[in-house]
């Protein structure tokens, strides 16, 4: 049989020829951030969410400033029976407060609390997570146990306790409470990233160049690990805002005359029979904040690391 001569043996050689790069196939080079931005903008819902979020933030900052003391000033002459107008698109409540402006003030409070709480979460989480992930060994073990312990405790209840015992109605206490109970997830994410990055080539290269541990952590690893933290933080805003609202609704958070979406709901609850619409205003606002933060978080997650995405 002429077959046995010169013909190749299975497995040893394949039919893949080497390739020269055809100029036609080169793709224009883009920086990492350009790619991130492109991917983000492709996500229609996330872009809408971003716009919505910016709108809400702007409204919550600007409108109370314009309104002056509207939204806090009570009045004996104006009440629920007064018709809506441009200055009072949602009318007045039973003690004469301009509902729309009170809503904006409440939004401002909620967003502020949410933002700062998330800052604590991100800061504390990143610090603990990076130490645990980088150091490894018994330090990691101990820190993980601590995280386990904090995670095991019923979160909302803890926040409730903290706020009730340390001072209801105190904005700082609320921020602190939410922050202190919520940092664990961020810490785990950062730790996971650090564990992964620690063995990666570019960290080994930095070490080989003689970079100190701190420099490696801060300059090389934290930027990479930030991506999941950013995503978790954005989603955390939604969580924090709702937690604060729940606290205020139950009477532990901000109390009138302070404006909060939560305590507006308490009031709306009492007056429901006569004013069924009042429940909707703070409710819809809350839901919008949550939706915006959620989609924003999703979009960021896809934009920063498309590998993470499950086919959705």
């Amino acid at each position: 049989m002429t077959r046995s001569e010169g013909l190749p043996v299975p497995g040893a050689h394949t039919a893949q020829p080497a390739a020269e790069i055809d100029e036609v196939d080169l793709v224009p080079v883009r920086t990492y951030w350009q790619l991130v931005r492109k991917r983000f903008l492709q996500h229609r819902m996330a872009t809408i969410a971003l716009v919505l979020m910016l709108l809400l933030i702007t409204a919550s900052i600007v409108l109370p400033l314009i309104g002056g003391d509207a939204g806090a000033k009570t009045s004996l002459t104006q009440g629920p029976k007064d018709p809506v107008s441009l200055a009072a698109p949602l009318g007045f409540d039973n003690i004469g407060i301009n509902i729309f402006f009170r809503l904006m003030r409440g939004l401002q409070t909620s967003l502020t609390i949410g933002f700062f709480a998330v800052l604590i979460i991100a800061g504390l989480g990143t610090t603990v997570g990076s130490i645990a992930g980088y150091a490894g060994g018994w330090v990691d073990n101990v820190l993980m146990r601590v995280i386990d312990i904090v995670l095991s405790l019923p979160t909302f209840f803890l926040v409730l306790m903290f706020v009730a015992f340390m001072g209801s109605g105190n904005v700082f206490v609320i921020i602190f409470a939410i922050g202190l109970t919520g940092w664990t997830t961020a810490a785990r994410l950062v730790r996971a990233e650090f564990l992964r990055l620690r063995e990666s080539d570019f960290v080994q290269a930095a070490k080989a160049l003689g970079a100190s541990d701190r420099r490696i952590i801060v300059r090389h690893m934290i930027p990479s690990a930030l991506a999941p933290v950013v995503v978790a933080s954005t989603l955390g805003i939604a969580d924090s805002v709702v937690t604060e609202a729940a606290l205020s609704f139950l009477g532990f958070g901000l109390r009138p005359p302070e404006a909060s979406l939560g305590n507006m709901l308490t009031g709306a609850n009492e007056y429901f029979y006569r004013q069924p619409l009042w429940i909707w205003y703070p409710g819809i606002t809350l839901i919008l904040v949550v939706l915006a933060a959620s989609f924003l978080g999703d979009g960021l997650r896809d934009a920063l690391d498309p590998r993470q995405r499950i086919e959705a």
Binding site: I149, M161, F165, I287, I310
Partner: protein, 320 residues
């Protein structure tokens, strides 16, 4: 497997101790002393001192902790194991145990309905990905998941209870109807709906994602290439794999069975553990607060263990 469970239980001990320490500290380090509420002009300083000694508040913190911690675990036998309530002097253990069934009715029912709805919905969405039904359901899921529990509870209450008078306004039973199952179920409808809507939104998304992930796998293509009917491919080959994360999720939901419905219970005045806890915080009823937190924590540990064990049972690739 038995060794694994044993090992996990041993590992859980330091965590339990950690939980206890933190709970204890939070309660005892708050400004003011537990006896402050008794300091009225009519109460003499001696009585206050007696109270302090009675509650053991004059001893050092570690000693107090030690005494409390050791006594805590005797609860199956001793109903004073968790102390006495500051509000009404009843044994805390009895108060809490009395509430457990109510909470379990609420959360158990919600979980049941959630699972019964979310799994089929998730499967449907995955099998009909990109279709109109998928998109519509996704929209509902997104909105549903974003609803705050207390707002939804309020809305349902106000609409169906107050406005349409279809369902009772609060509580678990109408007067004089203790033990009436139908009455209980009628009272359950609104709170369960509140919890379920949000839970179903989350779970069906999870199920959908899991199912989609599975349907992409090579072994599904193999199953089809064997000439199996699509029904069999989905419900035997795909589902069995897609359920694995769901089973783990079930395990992790166990802790929420007791502590996850505090807000809903408060909105509906449902006499459960959660509401008891919230009231206790308001009233500074520290023994009750402490016991509630501990129970919550221990349940989480049990839940995690259950989740891991369930995972090993359901996935033959996992051995411990």
């Amino acid at each position: 497997m038995a060794t694994y469970i044993l090992r996990r239980l041993l590992q859980a001990i330091p965590i339990v101790i950690g939980i206890s320490v933190i709970s204890f500290l939070i309660v005892h380090l708050t400004p003011g002393s537990p006896v402050d509420k008794f300091r009225t002009p009519r109460v003499s300083p001696e009585t206050i001192n007696n109270l302090i000694r009675l509650y053991g508040l004059d001893e050092s913190l570690p000693v107090q902790f030690g005494k409390w911690f050791t006594k805590f675990w005797t609860f199956p036998f001793d109903n004073t194991a968790w102390g006495y309530s500051f509000t009404d002097g009843l044994p805390v253990r009895d108060k809490i145990f009395a509430r457990i069934p109510s909470t379990l009715w609420l959360t158990g029912m919600s979980l049941l309905v959630t699972v019964m709805l979310a799994i089929p919905i998730g499967i449907l969405q995955a099998v009909r990905q990109y279709s109109w039904s998928d998109k519509i359901i996704t929209t509902f899921e997104t909105i549903g998941y974003a609803l705050p529990t207390f707002w939804l509870g309020l809305m349902l209450k106000q609409t169906f209870s107050v406005q349409f008078n279809l369902f009772p306004l609060f509580g678990q039973n109408s007067f004089g109807k203790q033990g009436d199952l139908l009455d209980l179920l009628w009272h359950l409808v609104l709170p369960v709906t509140t919890l379920t809507v949000i839970q179903v939104a989350g779970w069906s998304r999870y199920m959908r994602a899991s199912m989609l992930e599975v349907l992409r796998q090579d072994y599904i293509r193999t199953a089809r290439s064997k000439g199996l009917a699509e029904r069999r491919v989905i419900f035997k080959h795909a589902l069995r794999n897609a359920m694995i994360p769901i089973v783990t999720l079930l395990g992790l939901t166990v802790p929420a069975l007791l502590s996850g419905a505090a807000i809903t219970e408060t909105v509906f005045s449902w006499p459960g553990m959660g509401w008891l806890g919230v009231q206790a915080v308001t009233d500074r009823d520290y023994p009750v607060v402490l016991a509630t937190v501990m129970i919550g924590g221990v349940m989480v540990i049990i839940g995690n263990l259950l989740a891991d064990v369930a995972y090993a049972v359901v996935d033959p690739r996992i051995t411990y």
